[in-house]
Amino acid sequence: MRPRRFVRNTLPALLALFPAVAFGQGGTIRGHVTGKTAGQPLPGVTVSFGSRLTQTRSDGQYVLGNITGRDSLRFRVIGYAPVARLVTLTAGQTTDVDVTLDAQAVALAEMVVTGYGEQRAGNITGAVTQVSADQFNTGRIVSPQELIRGKVPGVQVVDQNEPGGGISVRIRGTTSVNASSEPLYVIDGIPIGTGAGGGLSAGRNALNFLNSDDVETITVLRDASAAAIYGANAASGVVLIQTKTGKGRPQVTYTTSGSASSITRRPSMLTADQFRVAVTTYAPQNVTQLANANTDWYDQISRTGAGQDHNLSVTGSTPSANWRVSGGFLRQDGIIRGSSTERVSLDLNFSQRLLDDRLEVRVTEKGSRNLDQFTPGGVLSNAAQMGPTQPIHNAATTTGYYDWPGNTLQSPDNPLAVLALAKDRGTTYRNIGGVQTSYMMPFLAGLQANVNLSYDVARTDRQTFFPSVLHGQLKSGQRGSDYRANQSQTNSALETFLDYTTQPLFFPGAIDLTAGYSYSQSNAEYPSYLATGLSTDLLRGNGVTTALTTQNVEDVQESRLISFFGRFNYNYNDRYLLGASVRRDGSSRFGTGNQWGVFPALSLGWRLSEEGFFRGMSSVSDLKLRASWAKTGNQAFANYQQYATYVLGDAQTRAQFGSDYVTTIRPSAYDPNIQWESTKATDIGLDFGFWNQRLTGALDWYDKKTDNLIFTVPVAAGTNLSNYLTTNIGSMKNRGLELSVGMPLLQKKRGVDWSVQFTVAKNDNELTSINPVFGTNAQAQRILTGLVSGGVGTFIQVLQPGQPVNSFFVYQHRFANGKPVFKEGAGADTAMYVDQNGDKVLNQDDRVPFHSPSPKLMLGHTSNIGYRGFDLSFTMRAYMGNYVYNNVSSNLGTYSEVTRASPYNLHASVLETGFKTPQYLSDYYVEDASFIRMDNISLSRGFNYRQQPIRAHVTIQNAFTSTDYSGVDPTAGLNGLDNNIYPRSRTYSAGLTVRF
């Protein structure tokens, strides 16, 4: 016994160094554990014999070696009734013991992926939500984040309506101003990007490389204690994505779907008749320019978007290996002409067990090519601005398209000419792969070593071309532009960790220890080329054209993150649970003296339902109180901020010395001590389950305080090399409540099964300080943000202590007869707006913060209804208290727009307001964008055709939206600015899944 005690007591740290040979002679017990109802293999079941302990693997198999004697062989896993068998074992003997376990509350037994490991759902002490494939949103899905929209409380998934367009995810609110607030994505254990977000792409959502058909589960680590194992990358939460693996007999699955999308809402512009009246009344000098056409420009630029999606996968497994290979093809046209996305993807998962199943090697490999076409810049805004009285074509012009006469800057462009002649496209190649090995140490049961090597290679090609003959190019003097960016990024990571699970002799309960090391490196290059003043349009951006000016940019970005981490989980009979973790992160982005940050976490769980006083209440199947505290960091900001850099001027910013033009060198303002943003968060939660987990749910309260915000703040003039400096200053808080409840509403009632799920999340965000040094004065500190169209440099939002981030910053409009007051001439401004400071002058000092774009309350609902083989499901979502600035209305809702050299079409709001001059800063344009939306209705049915199982479905996405917001979409964009955003589509799709 002595050598074994030695090994156990000095714990795993030394083991890697001294793999002492400590084997005795003994017997072996092995077997297979399955669940009783479905006969499925149960992984992670604790199997103990005396003091010896192991867990079943993913196939339900276990092995306990090197033991002798007579004792109880115990099988225990949360959610199932424990089982014990008396076993006698002599040296050298091998005994097979297979058991089946009775389900009690199966959901609690579900394995949930956590950072560097897995845990039973029932034993998790943080706020973690796992969504699996059968719960995913269905229909036309381009990006994996769309799969969980509305399914997880406190998670806001914001897209940009374009097919595959950029997606932002906010977990429990915004945590940063200048660094990223996107969560960290970890795909099959591989952290993606260089901090937060999805990595490199040619302009659309970076996670589009991942075929959503390959996704098995998405797990959101919502609270800081769960995420803290990812340290300096965890402050905005962590999203863990696991892809499908092979199970069971060899199988080929083919899924296909086709979709059609159409536009739902469009901006309210004047019709041709209304436009003519407006021009005649307010700009009679322009009437002669009007033609007699009746062109609906928005109709002309929009279309029905077709989509198709095909996936073929081959899966299978043997006792020691499993595999899945899948190929996918997706094409989706946008509802605005010129936009589409196309993906070809390949996903490979192979796992092999070797060396008596002690060594497991898993190889994953995902490759894709995304081809994105973008609607060229200006098409949407010009469709709004172009006069509806004007024709589309004009045979007399160079382009064949009608344009307003003259090349004055004061006229809109023909959007159809732009669509026909300009191009904007991007290609992204991405390959992510890794080898994960885990090895169960032979000399100490429960000790497992893991080594993961991974890489993420991305290469993009973004190209835009605007020929010189376009009206917009003529009027701006740009005379043709050709832009190309060829970006590449290679990230590689080594992660190695030891995991030790045991039930110690000297005290009760089970412990699970993890200790590891992680090294990741990113190398990226961002070269780009911009030429303007093209000598010819003939090459269309495919070759280098002689140009009046060219700008070549090369940017090398490299970063490194090195981490040590450890975690301790303690479980006393599933009743008392404790988790503690610490991560020490070193980053090349941190300044000298701040290079290492420590991020601890502590969480406690108490399953009240295991206590004696609850035993009698059979209706309560699970009741667990959780509390946690953790510190996490955010290092998702730019590289090299701590360096004194000098920026070279380009050829267009030289200084003339005599006849010599000198290239200039500018020192940049910098902070040598830059470091991570630090978030400290507390979470108190209650998990509950009643009637054998038929009704389940969780309630969480959290309080997050972020300090050392990376903030670009004004510095005392002259003390640094610019007026703003990026430094760690300022703090923010997010506080909220989350509730999720799931339950069956009907069970086999007249053949109907109906289960429902609700999520509710409330978050309050507040920027608490920008520069705390200045005490109460800090309240007056304001940083303008939210650039909008209308004038130059018009900012509509503010960062101000005491207000939510990006609050709108406006004049308070006076109303009369339900309409905003409009006056002209001396004193008009104070007659229209409230003079907040009472100084009789209306100027920038009279603007006030007014609402913010973040929803105060987010509600989600999912229903699943089964009836005679049909499955009907729908997902609804509602946001309350989110506001949007209608920039189309503010920019074009004024009669002054028809007085330009060539008149602009007007937003219909002008019919109500009668504004003759623009009122960009009026609170009239800040609209309540609360809404309720039927995101998804899906009907599916499975049947057999010649013994082959087939499943067919039809889905409607965005079936309806109910909102008071007057613009095209209350949800597009995170920042609440609606400036000719891409409109939202309603999508009908139908599909089939066939298995062989």
Binding site: P442, A449, S587, T645, V662, G718, T719, A826, Q844
Partner: protein, 535 residues
């Protein structure tokens, strides 16, 4: 069983050896790399290598100069110098021009950009974006100059082994950097009054500085200019665009002329002496008045200090690019001015238009067709006479090298201004000769009228005449606000012009508007600062 078991042991040993080797390999990888977190920038220069290239000193000095001409390091916009305002709006000269001309009787701008309309009418807020940006532009220049001086101390140059010609050149560069700093400090006290004085002896990233008085900075400017005049490069085509001793004298003349405003104690004698020094330098009146504002004005013999622009090599959305485009609108044809489009922005206030007599050639470029003299709506370009003084066309009629970004340089100081300073200083008792003053003024009149018909007599040469003549000669060249303040007419009710105070006819304004407010954000970033009276 025995064979099985011994096989098992062998395999276990083999496995643990594999494991041990793997663990050791990983640990050694970890140990060698785990301490190395340093990754230095590769595609950007750093303080560690920038001065390894001797050309960097000139490049850095050029950046102090270009702070007046461009707004960032990439094209007309990109990699901006200062934040918090649209980059095109943030250009030094554009802001200075707007601060000097819009609130005066010379110009209105028709755009509704936030903060801009208030500039036309003397009703700006303490948060006015244009005022804020002007303040930061001044200190950006001060910061650049100070850092240049910090990086070129004898100690630093010795340490880098800089000797010989380069060392001599750097001595000249240092004088130029000090000139540019004094130039911006002059704008600082002229526009904002009491402001902080930061020099190269203040370390970078220092704590918020204290507020110096206007007089302390005035004294600093005077002593700096006096100290460096002899070290500046001599005038000539080879140093065009750089500060010469005459530029320093001219700046001294301007500062002395306004000494009464800045310190309470006038120094007209100093102004007259400095102006005379300029007049005696190798500059002459340009026979062609229009050349001074044309695309080839770098060849004008009259310009003492210019902010050079070039359509291809020195691009900006501010400066003369702004002046040429914004002055154009209505029925004006952009091609006439060598540009690709009009911005429909700035026009004359009626008082400025009416200041010119019929025969005065300095109004020859005014556009009255389709324009009204009076302004009932500032937003309407056709209200107010258009005054495209600056053009992107050469005296030969050829357009500049680029139709958006102009080739026309901005004449900061020119000889005519020195003549008028002489005349004013003489009239205000600064010495000199009255006949000489009259000669200088009539030289300008003669050029304007093309003959002696516009000449004035000695009795007509009065202080009000000089002010009016300054308006005619130097219209829209960025001097007007300072001149009106010096004459006590900028605020208050002694002189009312259209839209002064916010009404079409004009009203008296609060004297607080003689100074711009210290930006509200700056008062928070630097609690040592006291706001100007009245704000």
């Amino acid at each position: 069983m025995t064979t099985n078991s011994s096989h098992g042991i062998r395999s276990m040993i083999r496995q643990s050896l594999i494991t041990g080797a793997a663990a050791l390999a990983l640990l050694s990888v970890a140990a060698t790399s785990c301490t190395d977190l340093t990754i230095e920038p590769k595609s950007t220069l750093t303080d560690a290598n920038v001065f390894n290239d001797p050309g960097s000193y000139k490049g850095f000095l050029a950046r102090v100069y270009s702070g007046l001409a461009v707004s960032g390091q990439r094209g007309a916009d990109g990699r901006p110098d200062i934040s918090g305002i649209d980059e095109g709006f943030s250009q030094y000269l554009r802001l200075l021009w707007e601060a000097q001309e819009l609130p005066s009787d010379e110009a209105v701008i028709g755009w509704g950009d936030v903060g801009l309309p208030e500039m036309n009418t003397q009703t700006w807020a303490v948060t006015n974006s244009f005022v804020v940006a002007m303040y930061y532009r001044i200190y950006f220049q001060v910061g650049m100059a100070n850092e240049f001086l910090r990086q070129t101390t004898d100690d630093k140059l010795d340490a880098r082994g800089v000797t010989g010609t380069l060392r001599t050149e750097i001595a000249t560069y240092r004088a130029e950097a000090r000139f540019l700093r004094a130039f911006s400090y002059w704008h600082g006290i002229d526009l904002f009054g009491d402001i902080p004085l930061l020099t190269e002896t203040d370390p970078l990233g220092s704590t918020p500085p204290t507020q110096a008085t206007r007089k302390e900075i005035y004294d600093f400017i005077v002593s700096e200019l006096t100290a460096i005049t002899g070290s500046l490069p001599s005038p000539g085509a080879a140093t065009y665009g750089r500060a010469t001793p005459a530029a320093a004298q001219m700046l001294l003349a301007k500062v002395y002329l306004n000494a009464g405003v800045y310190t309470g104690t006038p120094n007209y004698a100093g102004a007259l002496t400095a102006a005379s020094a300029v007049i005696n330098s190798p500059y002459s009146l340009d026979a062609n008045y229009r050349r001074i504002f044309s695309a080839d004005n770098n060849s004008s013999p009259e310009i003492i200090f210019a902010i050079p622009q070039d359509g291809l090599k020195t691009q900006t959305w501010g400066g003369v690019t702004f002046l040429v485009h914004a002055s154009c609108g209505g029925s004006m044809a952009n091609a006439t001015y060598g540009i690709d489009g009009c911005w429909w922005g700035i026009r004359l206030k009626p008082q400025a238009y009416n200041a010119f007599a019929a025969g005065d050639g300095r109004r020859s470029f005014f556009v009255t067709s389709g324009q009204s003299v009076n302004i009932t709506s500032i937003g309407d370009f056709t209200h107010g006479v258009a005054a495209p003084k600056f053009t992107n066309v050469t005296t030969g009629g050829a357009p500049g090298s680029h139709a958006t970004h102009v080739d026309t340089d901005f004449p900061v100081f020119r000889l005519a201004d020195a003549y008028l300073i002489y005349a004013e200083a003489q009239l205000r008792g600064g010495g000199g000769a009255a006949t000489q003053a009259l000669t200088y003024v009539n030289a300008l009149r003669q050029r304007a009228y093309g003959n002696a018909s516009g000449n004035i007599s000695a009795t007509e040469l009065t202080l009000p005449f000089v002010l009016a003549e300054r308006q005619r000669e130097l219209l829209w060249e960025g001097h007007r606000r300072t001149d009106l303040v010096r004459y006590g007419q900028f605020t208050g009710g002694s002189y009312i012009w259209a839209w002064k105070g916010g009404t079409a006819a004009g009203t008296a304004t609060d004297p607080k508007y003689n100074l711009y407010p210290i930006p509200a954000n700056e008062l928070i970033a630097n609690p040592n600062l006291k706001q100007n009276p009245g704000y």
